[in-house]
Structure formats: C-alpha cells, structure tokens
Amino acid sequence: MNNDSINLKVGQCAATTYSVPVGPVHPALKEPIRFTFNLDGERIVGVDIKPGFAHRGIEYMGMRRNLIQALYLSERICGICSISHPLAFTQAVENAAGIEVPPRAQYIRTIIGELERVHSHLLWAGVGAHELGFDTLLHLTWNVREKSMDLLEELTGNRVDYAIPIFSGVRRDVPAEKAHLAYEALDYYKGLLQQMIDAFLHDKSVEMRTRNVGALSYDLAVDLCAVGPTARASGVKKDVRQDMPYLAYADMEVKAITPEDFGTEPHGDVYDNIIVRLLEVKQSIEIIEFCLENLPSGELMSIPKVPALLATLKKASGEGLGRHEAPRGEVIHYVRLEEGIEEPAVWKVKAPTYSNLMAWVPKFLGDEIADVPIIAASIDPCMCCMDRVHMVDTVGNETTRMKEELVRLSREKTRRICG
C-alpha cells in the first residue's frame, strides 16, 4: 500500500476537522471532566482536557478544621481511594509532629491499603470491560469484587470509608478471630486469578480492542511523570512501595510490576494496563498474606487518648510529607503544622490522577473516536466522563451525540474487527 497517497488524502481533507466536546456530565460513573477532541475523520488529532468540575476546595476546608476533622475530610477526597489519602495524610502529620506509629498499626494500615487496591483494580477492570461492550465481564468482575468489600466491611465496619488510620496508629484492630475470614477471601481470589487472566488477557476481542490502543511510550511516561499502573504499563519500574518503602512494605520486598512480569514487551497500551492491574491484584494478595502471618503484637496507637493526641498535635510545629502508592499511583500529602493552632497551617494534596492527566494526550492522539471510552478509562478506573458529545463542524452545523452513541461506536468496532 502506498502510504504517501493516503497521507496526501488526509491532508486534503483538513477542512473536515471536527471539534468534539465530551462531558462534563457522565451518566454512569465518577467525577465530571471535559474533553475537547479535534477529529480528522475518525482520528483524534488534538485533545484539550478541562478538569475542575468536582473541585470542592478540600485543602481550603481542611485548613479551617482541626487535624482530626481534616482526617475525615481527607477520606472523602476520593471514595475509591478512601484509605490512600488518609494513609498519606497521617504519615505527613506524623512526620511533622514526630509521632511514632506502633508496628501492629503499620501492618493493619498496610492490610487495609492493599485490600483497597484489590477492590479498586477489579472495579477498574469491570469498567474497562463495560467500555468495550463486554458487559458480561463487567458483571463477573464486580460480582467477584464484592468479596473484598465484604472483607473490608468485616474488618472495618464500612464498605467504603473505613476510618482506620488516625494519627499515631489505627482505630481498629484486626483480631485473630477474624483472620480466617481474610484467609478465606485471599484463597477465593487466588483460585480466581487464572480465570480473570483468561477472561481478560486471553480473550481475542479484548486483545483486539486494547492492543496498541492508547499507547504511551517509555520515554513519554518518564517525561510526563506518569505514576502508578499507567507508568508501569509503559515499562517504567516505579512504585513508592519499592522505591521508598514505608509502613510494613519495608519488611518485605515489593517489586514494581510491569508487563515483563507477564512475559511480554511493554507497549504502554490498554492491554498492558490490564496486565499490570491484574498482576497487582495477585501481588496485593501476597502482601496481605505476609502481613497477616507476620502481624506484630502490641498497641494500636502510641497516643491512645484523643484529647492528648489533639494536645500533642497543637504543640507540634514543622513540615511533613506523606507518600503512599494508591491504586492509581503515588499520592503525596504535604502538611505544615504551627505551634498553638489546631488546624494545619498548610495542607497540599497531590493525587495520582493529577500526574496522569497529561499522559492522556499522547494516549488519545492518533486513535479513533470509538477508542475514547477505553483510553479515558485506561489511566484511572472511572475517569471516563462523557455524557453528551457536541459535534461541531467548521461550517457551524451542530449535532449532539450522547454517551450511548460513543459506546455504540465502540461496540460496533469490536464487532467489526472480530469479524
């Protein structure tokens, strides 16, 4: 085939470039965000991203509340990472105030943090399957996910906001009589893993829709400072648990998972994202098992009385940084405490999606509009916020496309390429 002639034709059709706004309201999941795509035919040649619709001013609110109130607020930054933010925030405050955390508390924090990764990655896999038009897999994955939600509820009392970390320790124990529930859930997932790998990675239609779609090269992943599974899918061996071990991670060897662990070269595409996230479920299960087996005995909080804790925090002054490898990547909290005030003087949060936002641009460019839902979902489980799409051509004719239309296009493409 003569590629030159095709390029020439594309160039001649430049007048038919469309601008396609997507969002901010999305019918199924997660926060609102707005994309504006420039399309040449079906190809994406430009994309503009406008976040900020769900901005609630958390840091501003947190700097007007005492630290324990701010801790509950930090849990509500994100309902999926509802342990990751408190983990980073408590570490930041403990660093600033010089508070020690008992070993048992560190292990319990790790267990809940890894359980969150299990449910979050399964959630993501289900959403990804839905975007491809593979709803059977969505329902299968979400059904399997409920086991981790049950265990979280059993251990913490809540399905979503766990309220487990508090400055100087944890609020609840993982008692020995509940350990068998955890082992049961871990065995359940171990038995399922191969089934999930078969359903996702050995499925022809999933492979055809995700291989070489939304690719992010190693160099770009490094340049754009991508974090978490987005970076690891491109072969960047970057994981806070490996690079800067904290909590119980220091006692074990956590290795960043890349597609090489599955025996394939990293492409950084959506398929590689699935590989990394599924293998990380396995890794998390191993970490939880290690923590349960080696759970140290001892106290849960080094300052168990809340008034004493508040008084200690009020007296403290200094700066602290807390990092945690959340399911989507590195989350960082910075806190500055000043003596005499109960509120944090400065509170700065850097969430993983913020780092991964720019990785969207090279991922989208060159792909088709039917790939928008799955590429948008690829960096983050639910940040695929397209409800209605306005198609405006250069002459000013306007049509409205709904999310269903995009999903329909996506499903048609699956059928088309599967023959």
Partner: protein, 146 residues
C-alpha cells in the same frame, strides 16, 4: 420484596455527580451489578436525562456544576422524581465552608427522596428508588405529565 400491583413499568435512572467523591457513585454501580442486581426490577441506568424517570444525584453542588444540574433537571421529562444519594448531597455534610461549593442539592432543584449515608449503602439506594416509585405513581394518578 412484594411489588405493588401498580408497578407497571421499568424505571430508568439518570445518574449525575455534581461534585461527589465517587463513594456513592461506586455504590450505585454496585447496586446495579450481580450482588444487588436492581436490573431485575427493571431499574436501569440511562445515558441521557431525556429518557429518565428518576434523577439520582450525588455530591454537593460545585459552582461549575450548578448551571449543568439545573439544565439536566429541566431536560428530564415529567413526571419525574429526584433522589439525592449521600449525606453531602442532602446537607453538604463534610463539605461546608468552601468557596466552590454552592450547597446541598435541594437548594438548587426540588428533591423528593434523601438517601442517608456516607456513602449510602446499596440497600439504602434501592430503598430510595422504591420510595421514588411511590412518588411517581402519585404524580401519575394526579395526571402530571400524562
């Protein structure tokens, strides 16, 4: 659960996040998937407010979402019911004293059902939708929107 005899149609639900933290949003999806499976009652998410009987709204209203929420409400045909899922949509909850939060949903549009919880459990969300069915039936009997 015994359904009322007048339960005569499938309820289509449109979900809007006006600044929520995803907690309730994910629990809504959990309610749709096999463990809770509300689709067996014909309750289904739709992609557009124009096809919806019920608006399921999560989160406090942020400033950029204010005009969009009003517009979505206007686009939903009568008779309709509005359900607020979660404490922050009902009362602003933990999100008070912010420069970018307008307030709870009922300061912007009329609300019929409040589902408590932070986040609401899937069972509570299903209960909220059942309450909305009752409201829709009353509206239909009184002839609103034919």
């Amino acid at each position: 659960m015994a359904l009322p005899r007048s339960f005569k149609r499938a309820l289509w639900v449109f979900h809007v996040a006006t600044g929520s933290c995803n907690g309730c949003d994910i629990e809504i999806v959990a309610a749709l998937t096999p463990r809770y499976d509300v689709e067996r009652f014909g309750i289904m998410l739709t992609g557009t407010p124009r096809h919806a009987d019920v608006l399921l709204i999560t989160g406090p209203v942020t400033k950029p979402m204010l005009p969009r929420l009003k517009r979505i409400y206007e686009q939903t045909p009568d008779p309709k019911a509005v359900i607020v899922v979660g404490g922050c949509g009902s009362t602003s909850g933990v999100f008070y004293e912010s420069y970018n939060v307008v307030g709870p949903i009922d300061e912007v549009i009329p609300v019929d059902v409040y589902v408590p919880g932070c986040p609401s459990r899937p069972e509570a969300i299903i209960d909220g939708v059942v309450k909305a069915v009752a409201k829709l039936e009353t509206l239909e009997k009184s002839g609103v929107g034919g």
